[in-house]
Symmetry: C2
Subunit: 493 residues, 2 copies
C-alpha cells in the first residue's frame, strides 16, 4: 500500500515499484539536509552557473533513458518528450546565464547623502536566496515542469536547495533525473526528492522549507496553499493551478480565415491530448459563422489518445459528462481501440447567454466549449463573467481595431498573457514571458516560466554603513564581479 | 458604541467624535467605487505623477493643521510630526519620480527568434496595477505610515485605487489627510477610507480588493493575513508585523567606545518613547563590560513619556511585567507626573544562556533587554535561537573583521537589514532600503519602505504577437514614452 508505482498509461498496469512513500523521518532528513547545504551554493554564482550547466549536460547525455522512462510513464510520445528535454536543459542553461550576468540580483547602492529628512547612511541592497524550496512538478510536463523543470531550475538558479515531491504520474522519471543531477556534482543537500502525498504535505509544513513552487490542479494546489498559509510561519506558495484560457474570434476574423482558425483551434485543444494548462477551454464565436461546423468536422478526425494517469482519465470523463448536461455536445473524436487510460476529444457548444459556472470550469483533457454570441453586447457581457485565467486570445480581422481593443480592455484585468491571432498553447521560455494570472490561474504575482521566475525564490537584504570588506562582492564599491547595478539612481553595467 | 473617537493620549480623554464605524453597506460602496475608479488612473503615468505631486503639495499646504491634529491624537510631539510630514510628502514625490521614469514597469521585449525548441513569437511584458488595495496604516507613524503613508503612496504610484482602514489611534488625522488628498484632485474612487475593526475585516475579504498593505502588531496582522489567505480567491497580504531587532556589541567595540554605544542605544530604544518597529529590543553585550552600568545610568535620566493609546499602554505594562519575571530589572526611567497614557523607560538584563522565548518577544514601548555573553560560543548559540527580525546590528571594533563576519553569517538568514556601528531606528526612504524580513518580521518577500515597495502592487502582463497600435505605449516598438526597457536581453534607456 505504501509502494510508489510507475504505471504505463498505455496499459494501465504498474510496470515498476519505484520505492515506497517517504516517511516523516525521511522527509525531515531531506529538509534538514537542504537547510545544511553548503552556503557556498547560494553565494558563489560562478560555481552555481557551472553546476547548472553540468546538470544540463548530464541530462542531455542520458537523453535516451530519460525520454524512454518518461514515455513509458506518461504516454506523451518520444518526439514530444525529446522536445521537452531540450526545453528542460535549455531552461537550465538560460538560467545559468542569468546567474552569471547578475542583473537578477537587483543590486542597488545609495551612497550617503543629505535628504529633506536629514543625512542618509550608505545603503546597499541585493536579492539573496530565500532558503530551501519545496517543488511540486506537474503531471503534464514530466521533464520541463518535472523534478528538474522550471521551478527547480529557478530555485537552484536563485541559490536555493530544493526538495522535490515526485509526481505520482512519473515517479521513475523523477527519480532518474534527480539521480543524474546529483551525479553531475550538486553538493550534498542541494537536491532531494520525496514520494507520496503525505510527504508532500509534510514538506510544505517543514520548518526548514522557505517557499513552495507548485504546478497542478486547483484542488490540490489550494489544499497545499492553505497548509503553507496556516504554518506558524507562513511561507510563499507559488502555485500555477490551471485555467480556462478564453479565445475570442471576432466576426471579421471568422469571415476572413475561419478555416485556419478552426484548424488551429483543434490542433491547440487536442495538443498533448488536451493536457496543457494553456489549453483553450472556452472559444467565443459569432453565432452565424460556419466555424462550428468546421471545428466539428475536424474534431471527428482526431483519434482518441492516452491520458497521463487514471486520475486524469476519471476527472476528464466526469467533466465531459458534466459538460454534456450544461452544453450541447457537438462532436467527438474518432474512438480508437486503445487499452489503458484513454481520452477522446470532445467539443461542446453553448449560447453566450447560457454560459454559467458549470461551463466555466477547466476540463483537463481534449475538450473545449464553443460559446456563440449574437452581438458585441452579449459577448462583452459573457467575457465579464469569466474567471481569471493564464491567457486570453483574440482573433481579429486584418486592420480591425475597435472591437479587439474593447476585448482586450475587458479581458486584461483577469489574465496574465494576451495572445493575438494565435493560440495559447506554447509557452516560450524567455524574459518577456509571463505565465501566471489572478487566482485561480495562480497564487502569485510572479511568473512560473521564464527568467523572471527566479525572483520568486529571492528576498532583499540591505547592508547599512557596512565596511567594504564585509560586503558580498556584488555590493563592494569597486564592483569586482562586474554586475549591473543601480548606483545613486543611475544604472551602471 | 459605534462612535469613532479621537482620543488625546496626554489626558486619556476623547476630544472628538470623528464619525461612526463604517457599516458593511458603506464598506461595499467604497470598495466598489475603488473598482470603478477611472482606468486612466492606472494607465496614464504622467497624469498619475502629477496627481501624486498635487497631493504632496496639498499636504504641505495644510502642514499646521495636520501636525496639530496628529499631535493631539498621538502625543508624538510637533517636531517629530513635522519631520514625519516631510517624509510623507517626500515619499509621494519620490514615488512620482519613479512613476515618471518608468523603470519600475520592468518592461521587457523579446522579438521573434529561433530557439532550440522552435520559433518564438514576439513577446512583450510589463508590470500593471494589481487592482484596488486595502491599506492598514501603523499606529506609530500617523503620517509617514498612516492613511497617506508608505503603503498608500506605493499603491497609488503603482496605479491602484486604495481603501484605507483608519487607525483607531489617529482617526481624525486619517480623515483629514484623505480629505486633503481628495480635494487635491484624485479621481472619484481612487482613495477611500473606512473606520472600525469590522470594516477592516470586511475590506480584506471584499471581492474587489486585490492586495493588502499592513503595518502593525503580529496578532492583528496575522489575523488579517489569515483572512486574506482564506478568501475564495486568496490575495497577497503584505504585512510588516514588528521585530525584536537584535544589536550585538563585540568586546572590542565595547572596549573602544562603550560610552558612545550606551548613549546611542538609550537614544535609539527610547526614541518616540520606544514606539518604533525597528527599536533595538535585544542587545548582546560582553558580560565583563561596564556597558550595563553606563546604559542603566543613562536610562535613569530619561523621563516617562506618552504612549500612542490605551492599548499600547496596557500592552507595554503587561510586557514589562512579563520581562520582570524572566530577566533582571536593571533600571527604569525618571517617572514623570503625567496624566494620560504613560510609559516609563525600562531596561532589563539576562545571561545569554538564560535567554528564552519570553525574553525574545517584542515589547512595543521604551524597554530593551541587555543579554550578556561570556564568550563567542555562547553568543553565537544565543543568536542562533533568535526569531526573524527586520534588522540586526553589529558594533565592531576598528579593523575587527573575524568576529563581525561570523556574526553577520549567523544573522543574515533571519533579517532584512544589517546595520554596522549604528542603530536600526531610522529607515531611509530610498531605493537601496529593505524594510522587511522573514516571518514574523513581515509576511512578504518585498520591502514596505522605499521605491521598490511599489513592486508589491503590480503584476506582470504579457502581450504575444500584438499589433503595435494595440500595445500600451510603454511596449510599442518606437518606445514613444522613452522608458528604460530590456530588448532582446539588452537594457535600453
Amino acid at each position: 500500500v505504501n509502494d510508489i508505482l510507475s504505471v504505463d498509461p498505455r496499459t494501465g498496469a504498474a510496470v515498476e515499484v519505484v520505492g515506497s512513500q517517504t516517511d516523516a523521518g525521511e522527509v525531515d532528513a531531506r529538509c534538514r539536509a537542504a537547510a545544511r547545504a553548503p552556503r557556498r551554493f547560494g553565494a558563489d554564482r560562478a560555481e552555481r552557473a557551472r553546476l547548472l550547466h553540468a546538470v544540463a549536460d548530464a541530462l542531455d547525455g542520458r537523453r535516451e533513458a530519460i525520454v524512454d522512462t518518461a514515455d513509458r510513464e506518461t504516454a506523451l510520445g518520444r518526439p514530444r518528450l525529446a522536445g521537452e528535454l531540450t526545453r528542460t536543459t535549455y531552461q537550465l542553461r538560460l538560467f545559468a546565464e542569468a546567474v552569471t550576468h547578475g542583473g537578477y540580483l537587483e543590486a542597488i547602492i545609495d551612497h550617503p547623502a543629505d535628504t529633506p529628512m536629514g543625512p542618509r547612511p550608505d545603503l546597499r541592497r541585493m536579492l539573496v536566496p530565500i532558503g530551501p524550496v519545496a517543488v511540486f512538478g506537474a503531471a503534464n510536463f514530466p521533464l520541463a515542469f518535472g523534478a528538474l523543470g522550471g521551478d527547480t531550475a529557478a530555485a537552484l538558479a536563485a541559490g536555493c536547495p530544493v526538495v522535490v515531491k515526485a509526481h505520482p504520474s512519473h515517479p521513475a522519471t523523477s527519480r532518474l533525473v534527480v539521480e543524474i543531477a546529483n551525479a553531475a556534482g550538486l553538493p550534498p543537500g542541494v537536491l532531494g526528492v520525496v514520494y507520496g502525498q503525505p510527504a508532500g504535505a509534510d514538506i510544505v509544513q517543514h520548518p526548514a522549507i522557505r517557499a513552495v513552487g507548485f504546478t497542478g490542479s486547483l484542488r490540490g494546489g489550494r489544499a497545499l496553499h492553505d497548509l503553507a498559509a496556516a504554518r506558524p510561519d507562513p511561507i510563499p506558495f507559488y502555485g500555477e493551478l490551471g485555467s480556462i484560457n478564453p479565445v475570442v474570434v471576432t466576426p471579421a476574423a471568422a469571415a476572413e480565415r475561419g478555416d485556419d482558425i478552426a484548424a488551429g483551434l483543434v490542433a491547440s485543444f487536442t495538443l498533448g491530448n488536451g493536457q496543457f494548462c494553456t489549453k483553450p477551454g472556452l472559444v467565443f464565436l459569432p453565432v452565424e459563422a460556419d466555424l462550428l461546423d468546421a471545428v466539428a468536422a475536424l474534431v471527428r478526425q482526431v483519434p482518441s489518445g492516452w491520458l497521463l494517469d487514471g486520475r486524469v482519465q476519471a476527472g476528464f470523463e466526469a467533466r465531459v459528462s458534466e459538460l454534456g448536461e450544461h452544453a450541447t455536445p457537438l462532436a467527438h473524436g474518432r474512438a480508437a481501440e486503445l487499452a489503458g487510460f484513454v481520452g477522446t476529444p470532445a467539443v461542446f457548444s453553448v449560447p453566450a447567454s447560457a454560459m454559467d459556472g458549470n461551463v466555466m470550469e477547466e476540463a483537463f483533457g481534449p475538450a473545449t466549449v464553443l460559446v456563440t454570441y449574437p452581438d458585441t453586447a452579449e459577448l462583452i457581457d459573457a467575457l465579464g463573467r469569466l474567471p481569471a485565467a493564464l491567457t486570453a486570445t483574440v482573433h481579429a480581422g486584418a486592420g480591425e481595431t475597435q472591437l479587439p481593443a474593447l476585448l482586450v480592455e475587458t479581458l486584461r484585468d483577469r489574465v496574465g498573457r494576451i495572445v493575438w491571432n494565435g493560440f495559447p498553447t506554447g509557452v516560450a521560455v524567455t524574459a518577456a514571458m509571463h505565465h501566471g494570472g489572478p487566482y485561480p490561474a495562480s497564487t502569485s504575482i510572479h511568473t512560473s516560466v521564464g527568467v523572471t521566475s527566479i525572483r520568486r525564490f529571492l528576498r532583499p537584504l540591505a547592508f547599512q554603513s557596512t565596511p567594504d570588506s564585509q560586503l558580498p562582492p556584488e555590493l563592494r564599491e569597486a564592483n569586482p564581479l562586474r554586475i549591473p547595478r543601480q548606483v545613486d539612481g543611475r544604472p551602471t553595467t
